[in-house]
Amino acid sequence: MSTIRDKLREYRTAGYYTEFEYHWTMAVDLDRCTGCEACVVACQAENNLPIVGEKRMRQGREMKWIRIERYWDDSEYPNARLNFIPMLCQHCDEAPCEIACPVFATYHNQDGLNAQVYNRCIGTRTCAVYCPYEVRFFNWFTYTWDEPLEQQLNPDVTVREKGVMEKCTFCVQRINRAKDLARDEDRRVADGEAQPACAQACPTDAIVFGDRNDTDSAVSRKLEDPRAYEVLKELNTHPSVVYLKNARAPLAGEEDDGHHGDESESHASPVMWPDESSEAVA
């Protein structure tokens, strides 16, 4: 009898997992991000993302699992500054997209990843509508690669056909390889062993990836930073991607408005460092 009660309690637990085996988390330091888009290119190469071409790009059908969002701040022209936020699948622990799928094409796995299973997908696109971050991409057509570009496709990643939804996987193929290796050696994955392509490519180390369960990992230390915040936190999605706010520092000649690391501000207002940016503006 007690086993039935235990089972019932297990099945009635919200989210099913009380603790993830690994809780993969990404910290993006907006202070370090220069908007170079190396992560975008790395992702495109790693995950066999199709190049849709100019026409389809204009139709709003580009495939970029990670994109650099650009926001101008409120200031007037010579002082106006561009802020970057790399936006990718947030792997929310309470993901709005996972509610939607009638065929379990997207679900939450034991690592806290928001998994997308391409061969289950029937393309209702409801997950993409439900996603507040708009990081889900639909294969409107079957995309092909011209010779000899198909030679550079990553053999570890499926090439998707038309009618399938896809999104950032935190480079699950790399995570799984690291986990297999660790299992063979009977140990846990060490910090830094599993790195998604974007984190690997980032020249300024703005993207840090690791296991949140490991309190010593680089990403856990980043999370303790007072600048850490979650995008659209008010939607209660519990994202696994945490952004480190761009510390606001005054430009040369601008008054310090006292916004240093102000926690009450929910959205980032990142800027570059004073001397660099005044040079850039000039």
């Binding site: 099945y11 009635r12 099913y16 993901a95 509610i99 997207t106 679900y107 939450h108």
Partner: protein, 164 residues
Amino acid sequence: MTLLASFAHEDAALDAARALREKGVDGVDLYSPIPLHGAEEALGLGKSMVRVFALLGGILGAIGGFTLCVWTATRFILPTAGRAVIALPPYLLITYESTILLGTLMTLLGFFVVGRLPAWRDRTYRASSNVDRFVISVAGPGAPEAEEILRAAGAESIEREQSE
């Protein structure tokens, strides 16, 4: 042998049916173009067993729908969106729909079983009873004595037919 008496008026037909019932004649049936109020008591039809089928269907649907949700979800656990594997609000919606679905299907089955349909073989009836005539048929041994009662009640015509 079957006796078929045709009436132009529904109350006359109902009176005849009532009289036959009082005399204790068996095998009486009443064919009409519209459902007749009063035919139930005239022919002694009680509450239809269809309601039992409907109830059974509803109960089966409710249990079946909920069991389907729980069983399929626990067979291969795929957690989604921070919800429990057995999440009551969505499963109760499915239960609601399946209650109605099975209730409808079982009522349909009940209609066929209780109404003894479909019956595609040739059976005694008069086509006029689908237009504007009310026909009373008396089958079996009671037929000869029924003829007088029917005529007295005002039957337009009385036919005999050798039953199968």
